[in-house]
């Protein structure tokens, strides 16, 4: 996306707006904002919502195979949370004057992006651990920063979502820790999964700062508060210690600790792979969109029925009242 000059907005308003940003004021839906600010937020927030919804698929893939009832329930609750986050952020995006249906259509048409991490397949139970730990862990680092974003509805959504993501990360790490101290086969499963998810999770923070086209503007308007590389480094420092604590190995022969900076430094990230997956050629890009399209197409008759019924209801309110009474009576006197 190229940066367009905000020709339509008058410069005094922009100056006042930027003064509010500089003073750390929260921008609210009814406040005036530059069209470019609005567009950037819609792009970011809808991508975020799409990511939550598409992100239900790789984990949903293992709900029916979870190896214990407790794990099955935790995973179901987690994937349900992702759906809730998606809904919540779509609603937040609607405060910017767009319609959720249009945003969903952009996703189905392949015109909207979502986090590339969900274009990787989930191949073992350990992937449920790796995703919770690494993918949600990386998301938390990013979203903790976004919780201070200048747009109020987005910032508040992030505060709430981060609380749940912390639970997701904890359960993921717990899965990995349990596997790592389990049978040799379980430990091997955990390491194999870490090997596959490590690099893609580092890529979640986006390209290096020098190659990130949207970053400058997002930082200037207080939508982002930290750069991709700063956030990535924070994630690496947190995660390396966690890998060591459960006696697994970071799959990077070049990993080394820099005494001077206190940072763990990784070997080079394969940006060719990153761009390949972003541009549509990852292992599951096609499958993920196909799954969303299929659900949407197969659900059309259901949505149509809901609309048709709601229209009939408006014509006859009496029926609704009667039905409400049916539900309240349910089960009463059944065994009396």
């Amino acid at each position: 996306m190229t940066t367009m000059p905000p020709v339509a907005d008058d410069s005094a308003r922009i100056a006042a707006f930027e003064a509010r940003i500089a003073a750390d004021e929260s921008i609210e839906p009814k406040d005036w904002m530059p069209e470019r600010y609005r567009a950037q937020l819609i792009r970011m927030m809808s991508q975020h919502a799409h990511s939550e919804v598409v992100g239900m698929l790789p984990e949903g893939n293992w709900i029916t195979r979870a190896p214990s009832l407790r794990r099955k329930m935790i995973l179901l609750a987690k994937v349900q949370d992702e759906g809730g986050h998606g809904l919540y952020i779509y609603c937040g995006t609607e405060t910017l004057g767009v319609d959720r249906q249009d945003l969903v259509q952009q996703l189905l048409d392949g015109k909207a992006k979502y986090s590339s991490i969900f274009n990787y397949p989930t191949l073992s139970w350990a992937d449920m651990g790796a995703i919770g730990w690494l993918v949600d862990g990386a998301a938390i680092v990013n979203q903790t920063m976004l919780a201070k974003a200048s747009y109020g509805p987005y910032a508040r959504a992030m505060v709430r979502i981060c609380k749940e993501e912390n639970f997701h990360k904890k359960q993921g790490y717990e899965i990995m820790a349990t596997l790592a101290r389990g049978t040799p086969a379980q430990k091997a499963m955990a390491q194999e999964s870490l090997n596959r998810w490590w690099w893609p999770s580092l890529m979640m923070f986006g390209p290096h700062d020098k190659d990130s086209s949207n970053s400058d503007e997002l930082m200037r308007w207080g939508i982002k508060r930290k750069s991709n590389d700063e956030l990535r480094q924070r994630f690496i420092n947190l995660t390396v210690a966690q890998v060591k604590a459960i006696d697994l190995t970071v799959p990077d022969p070049d990993l080394k600790y820099n005494e001077a900076t206190g940072n763990w430094e990784t070997g080079p990230i394969d940006w060719d792979e990153f761009w390949r997956v972003v541009k549509g050629n990852g292992p599951c890009n096609g499958e993920r969109i196909d799954a969303r399209r299929r659900a949407h197409a197969e659900g059309r008759w259901v949505r149509d029925a809901a609309v048709a019924f709601a229209e009939k209801q408006q014509r006859d309110n009496r029926e609704t009242t009667e039905r409400q009474q049916t539900w309240t009576r349910l089960g009463d006197g059944a065994t009396a």
């Binding site: 919804v53 239900m56 698929l57 949903g60 709900i63 029916t64 195979r65 979870a66 190896p67 214990s68 009832l69 407790r70 794990r71 099955k72 329930m73 179901l76 609750a77 994937v79 349900q80 759906g83 809730g84 998606g86 809904l87 779509y90 139970w125 899965i175 349990t178 389990g182 049978t183 086969a185 379980q186 799954a291 299929r294 659900a295 949407h296 197969e298 659900g299 059309r300 008759w301 259901v302 949505r303 149509d304 029925a305 809901a306 048709a308 019924f309 009939k312 029926e319 009667e322 039905r323 049916t326 539900w327 349910l330 089960g331 006197g333 059944a334 065994t335």
Partner: protein
């Protein structure tokens, strides 16, 4: 602890397996529902059902005193040892089948939990009281959709009626009282499910009427699940559900 009646553990498995298998089927929807709100609702229902199953399986394991916990009972029993009604194991079908099944079974569940909440088995009564609240929500959710689909468009009406017709022969089994539970019913431990058929039918008819749907008139009913004689579908469901657990016997998760 005093030895329990030998019919109690099997009776508890009948209760638990319905919720486990139906919950599992419902969880298959996650990420594939017609609208995001239904992804969330169906995941929530699946979660409630598997939660109910877990509590009853724990109780069954304790009563049985054979050293099996809820996971051993869920993941290491074969299809012939499952006691769920056939209705619960049928493939998820389209959204209409899913909704009509939830309505039929949810209404049965409300009536059954309501009766079990007065069980002389305090553990079971406690589980039932909690589950009753959840099941009331489930049947309300499903019932609203039955009416919407039945009285929505021509296509939704057709699909809803097809679901009613396909699932109807599997509803009779819910109300066939297992012979080995006579002592338990006499002692007030479990509920005589045959007594639930009347109230169930009255409320089903009420909702179907509002949905402009009709109940089939053919009285023939499928049966077998309560005795371990299942459809071909259960084996496949269990193969998927149990694969990881059985590949690593003795492992902790």
């Amino acid at each position: 602890m005093r030895a329990s009646h030998p019919a109690l553990a099997p009776a508890l498995l009948r209760i638990a397996d319905d919720r486990l298998i139906l919950g599992h089927r419902t969880s298959e929807w996650c990420g594939h529902a017609p609208i995001l709100e239904e992804d969330i609702a169906l995941a929530n229902i699946a979660l409630d059902l598997i939660g109910q199953a877990t509590l009853v399986l724990q109780h069954a394991g304790a009563v049985e005193r054979a050293g099996r916990n809820e996971d051993a009972l869920a993941f290491f029993r074969d299809a012939t040892d499952f006691r769920n009604a056939l209705l619960c194991e049928l493939p998820r079908g389209d959204f209409g089948v899913t909704i009509v099944r939830h309505f039929f079974h949810g209404l049965y569940s409300v009536l059954q939990w309501d009766a079990l909440a007065r069980s002389t088995d305090q553990t079971l009564a406690g589980i039932a009281a909690k589950a009753l609240k959840e099941s009331r929500y489930h049947v309300r959710h499903a019932g609203e959709w039955v009416i919407r689909l039945g009285d929505g468009t021509e296509e939704s009406h057709r699909r809803a009626q097809e679901a009613v017709d396909a699932l109807w022969p599997y509803t009779g089994e819910l109300f066939m009282q297992p012979a080995d539970e006579a002592d338990l019913v006499a002692a007030g431990t479990t509920a005589d499910v045959s007594l639930l058929a009347g109230p169930w039918r009255a409320q089903v008819d009420d909702v179907l009427r509002r949905a402009t749907l009709r109940a089939p008139s053919d009285p023939w009913m499928q049966r077998g699940g309560r005795d371990g004689r299942h459809t071909e579908h259960l084996g496949h469901l269990l193969a998927e559900m149990q694969i990881v657990a059985r590949s690593h016997p003795g492992a902790q998760w």
